[in-house]
């Protein structure tokens, strides 16, 4: 199952698509994603705090959404796992 999830990510599928294809609950997939992050297969990218503080200098700071979608990448370890 883990490899199927990693493959789904490498193919650019959405988490909803991966969950549907694996007949898995979305929350269960999110749990697995968190686990895979801890195991070092995936990294999650959020807007980092230093970027947010840099954003504050922008005159359009308030215009810009600070709640963009969260995205996940395969690490080198993750890529090796599905080779």
């Amino acid at each position: 199952m883990i490899k199927d999830v990693l493959r789904g990510i490498s193919q650019g599928k959405t988490l909803a698509q991966i969950a549907e294809e694996l007949n898995m609950e979305y929350s269960a997939l999110m749990g697995m994603i968190e686990h895979l992050i801890k195991m070092g297969y995936i990294i999650a990218v959020d807007r980092k705090p230093q970027e947010i503080s840099a954003c504050k200098t922008c005159p359009l700071y308030k215009v810009c959404s600070k709640n963009g979608p969260k995205i996940y990448y395969l690490t080198e370890k993750g890529k090796r796992a599905i080779k």
């Binding site: 959405t14 609950e25 801890k38 922008c58 005159p59 963009g68």
Partner: protein, 665 residues
């Protein structure tokens, strides 16, 4: 008797702890750490019971302090019963921890918490779950005190005959081999230790190193490699996969989702709006309709504000003075003419320019807030990713490009998150070609004046063109100067929801306030400078050919001629280098009214100007940020030249073709 409560975070574990212990609880810390430890004592059926609330965890690896505390407590303190508090509404997710707990202890009672909510989501077969696991399973609703007595009763008298989670024979044989090597050691739960050694668990390895049993560690390493060779996988993935498969299988045995096929409203909407073929055309239609809505709804408000400040010229030729003219004449009665002119035709007119366009900005942000709060904008990022992947640009760079629609400064900064240098440079090079919020405001200003019947279409064409150019250049760059392989990624899309009216208005106000605040400082200030250039040297006609601004315009006139760009527009473009919104002010101060501006340019010239603004050099703040991020003057020059080349190309193309065809002249 000792009972430990384990479970994922947010399963209602604390509520259950409170429901069981009431006021009889003590809060402290786990030894040596600052993780909170809650303990309570009760008497149930004549038996004194101590309840310990363990930290919430999703698994029992050695990656976090909470996990280590939980597993060490169960292993070393050997509670009589471990209650696994499961959020029954997210059953599958919670079952993974159960698989790990079952390796630690046989005496587990499962509390299916939030059972009332879960019944709305699945048909749960509790009896079957008990049979399959060989453990007591008790439905509870902790916040309503339901099922608490049954749970405690099961802890005291439950039937514990758990089914073991077994791994394939190749793994089990090696687990047993390690267990045999531990026979003489004073260790609790040798099987668990053997599995953890195979998993290469750092804490357990440390434990064996401290025991001086390097032989076991070497053997574990050897066996681990054997298993990895057999399965072609690293052991951690392998063992976690077995546990996930067990949890997945168990879930499907005991839970039947009530919505047919598990399809949610979000899924249904996504099948249409995030469709691989229809998604993009739907987005283009949404964008077009949004612009149409903004212009149609904002128009009466704009006209009213314009009338208040600038008055109106009637069909008979009679001019009704607006606030600016009235104020000018009134002030001129007690102060020098130049001072009254500066205040009214410089500062007040700058303010009027801002206020006239506030309705458009507010409605634009209203629409954006609705699209964002509903969850649609996240789908747009997803759709763009799909498109960009096809042309060789992908990864986090897409997110930074999307941020560019707000402001290019944080968008360029956000490329720091890119670990791939090639993607980072590619993203920075393309970012200034995305029209930021300020450019979009200028587009709205010009289209509202020159394209009364096709405002939305013109705006739409500009955004579409910028996206097309970014896609095309992205493709060319990724095959030439920024060659390399991009990082694949997956995006978490939030569920759709109906945005609350209050939320939308707060959101809209926050965004509009940013525009108004800026208007109160930079824009009005710039209006003052432009007024001075138009009024000096003293005595010349305001904005006439002998004024400084007139002289600059005269000097620049040949430059813009091939593109249909007027000298005044070139001055506006020059000031736009400092902040794009200032372009609006320059036009207002130079021309006075919308009608005068309309008379100074043909729609074709206006469109050519829009194309120029779309691409020409980003503002000074963006360039400074690009320099900060790249520390390369060459890169900054590249971005400036790229912008000017595209601006000149498209303006020239549009103006030449338009003139040739006699369109918009």
């Amino acid at each position: 008797m000792l009972i430990a409560l384990a479970g994922n975070p947010n399963t209602g574990k604390s509520s259950l702890f409170n429901a069981i212990t009431g006021a009889h609880q003590h809060i402290g810390n786990w030894p040596g750490v600052t993780v909170e430890k809650k303990e309570g004592t009760i008497t149930f059926e004549g038996k004194k019971i101590t309840i310990v609330d363990l930290p919430g965890t999703y698994s029992l690896t050695a990656y976090s302090l909470e996990e280590v505390i939980t597993r060490n407590f169960i292993l070393e303190e050997e509670p009589d019963v471990v209650v696994d508090v499961i959020d029954a509404t997210n059953l599958e997710r919670n079952l993974y921890l159960l698989t790990e707990l079952m390796e630690l202890t046989d005496r587990i009672v499962i509390a299916l918490n939030m059972f009332d909510e879960a019944k709305k989501k699945y048909k749960l077969d509790v009896k079957k779950m008990r049979e399959l696991l060989g453990l007591p399973v008790i439905p509870t609703v902790a916040i309503k005190d339901k099922g608490i007595k049954d749970l405690l009763h099961a802890c005291l008298h439950g039937y514990f005959k758990p089914k073991k989670l077994s791994y394939p024979e190749d793994v089990e044989n090696r687990v047993e081999k390690l267990q045999r090597m531990m026979e003489n050691l004073d260790l609790k739960n040798k099987r668990w230790h053997a599995i953890k050694l195979l998993e290469n668990d750092s804490e357990v390895r440390k434990k064996f190193a401290n025991l001086g049993r390097k032989d076991i560690l070497h053997e574990a390493e050897h066996l681990r490699h054997e298993i990895e060779d057999i399965y072609g996988d690293d052991i951690e993935t392998l063992i976690a996969s077995f546990r996930y498969s067990f949890a997945h299988g168990l879930f499907h045995e005991v839970a039947e989702p009530l919505n047919v096929g598990g399809v949610t409203i979000t899924d249904m909407i996504d099948h249409v709006v995030a469709h691989k073929i229809f998604g993009l055309p739907i987005f283009l239609v949404v964008m077009y309709l949004s612009f149409e809505f903004v212009f149609v709804v904002a128009a009466p408000f704009q006209d009213a504000i314009d009338l208040i400040f600038n008055g109106k010229t009637l069909a008979s030729g009679q001019h009704i003075n607006g606030l600016i003219d009235i104020s000018y004449h009134w002030m001129a009665s007690f102060m020098p003419n130049w001072a009254s002119s500066f205040i009214n035709y410089g500062m007040l007119r700058g303010l009027a320019a801002v206020l006239t366009f506030t309705p458009i900005i507010m409605f634009l942000f209203l629409i954006l807030s609705i699209l964002e709060d509903s969850g649609y904008l996240a789908r747009v990022a997803f759709l763009m990713d799909k498109l960009m992947r096809k042309i060789g640009l992908e990864g986090r760079g897409i997110i930074s490009l999307m941020l560019g629609f707000g402001c290019n400064v944080p968008a360029v900064m956000s490329t720091r998150a890119l670990k791939n240098e090639r993607e980072r440079e590619l993203s920075i090079a393309l970012n200034p070609l995305i029209p930021c919020g300020a450019r979009i405001q200028v587009f709205a200003f010009i289209t509202a004046i020159f394209f009364k019947h096709n405002q939305a279409l013109v705006m739409w064409s500009l955004i579409l063109l910028s996206m097309g150019v970014v896609a095309l250049l992205g493709y060319v760059y990724s095959k030439t100067i920024f060659k390399g392989k991009a990082e694949p990624f997956v995006m978490e899309l939030p569920p759709y929801r109906v945005p609350s009216l209050k939320g939308i208005f707060i959101h809209m106000w926050e965004k509009s306030e940013g525009f108004l605040r800026k208007a109160g400082t930079i824009i009005v200030g710039a209006a003052g400078i432009i007024w001075l250039l138009a009024a000096l040297p003293w005595g010349v006609q305001f904005g006439g050919e002998n004024s400084y601004i007139g002289q600059i315009a005269h000097f620049l006139a040949p430059v813009g001629a091939p593109f249909g760009i007027t000298p005044e527009s070139i001055i506006a473009l020059f000031f736009g280098f400092f902040a794009k919104e200032v372009v609006i002010d320059v036009f207002y101060v130079l021309y006075g009214t919308k009608e005068a501006l309309f008379a100074a340019m043909t729609p074709l010239q206006a469109y050519s100007l829009l194309l120029f603004i779309l691409f020409y050099t980003p503002c000074v703040a963006t360039l400074a940020t690009i320099y900060n991020e790249t520390k390369s003057t060459k890169f900054v020059l590249f971005v400036i030249l790229e912008g000017f080349a595209l601006a000149l190309f498209f303006s020239f193309l549009a103006y030449t073709i338009g003139s040739f065809l006699g369109v918009g002249g």
